[in-house]
Symmetry: C2
Subunit: 121 residues, 2 copies
């Protein structure tokens, strides 16, 4: 008790910051990252919306909305689009994991820029 009282803390004990459980640094939504990847695959094959959509059995308008992350494609639709683009769900998911990893890297490096300087100041 006495020992504690004689100590004048020079500065306040830092509040233990709750470690965020795997903070999602501005993660995109699933349909957004999926749409971007589907578009990239289609453009890699130099195909038009019309061509890919026809093979997947959907309208080019719908495919365009999926690619822009505006529509939530069903699992059956994802399978059809993967097939139409000559890939599999497994490969597509693998690529999406890579896309999200890269996105996370970008988000983290952005966060360590001005935000970290602000925290350090």
């Amino acid at each position: 008790m006495a020992e504690r009282a004689s100590v004048t803390p020079l500065r306040r004990k830092p509040r233990p910051e709750p470690l965020p459980r795997q903070p999602p640094p501005q993660e995109p939504l699933w349909r957004e990252v999926l749409g971007q990847r589907l578009r990239a695959l289609r453009l890699d094959q130099r195909e038009t919306l019309l061509e890919t959509a026809a093979r997947a059995g959907i309208s080019p308008q719908y495919l365009s909305e999926v690619e822009r992350g505006r529509k939530e494609p069903s699992s059956e639709m994802i399978a059809a689009l993967a097939g139409a683009l000559g890939t599999t769900l497994a490969e597509l998911t693998e690529q999406l994991a890579g896309d999200l990893r890269r996105h996370q890297g970008i988000a983290t490096s952005r966060a360590s820029g001005p935000v970290m300087l602000a925290l350090a100041a």
Copy 2:
């Protein structure tokens, strides 16, 4: 012309078999593999449907249906569930890619069993 006519083909030229563009060997649907992974993550944390669902802001019934691949969760829901399970979309997608890879391995080894023997016979 004459040269061609003098040749009696011993056997018919084998029909070029169309190489299947990345055949999906009985791939599961996206929502099925997602549901299984979400359930595995929840059980890893020894959580009940009630606990995880409460943190994700959904009903345990709905979570149960998602886990069994019966409901197609929206992208917002996937993000909420990832957060409730202490993970990110990036990590979740990474795990799903692994799940699908393993599934593909199983499907391929199954296909090379009786099917390949039948083709060889």
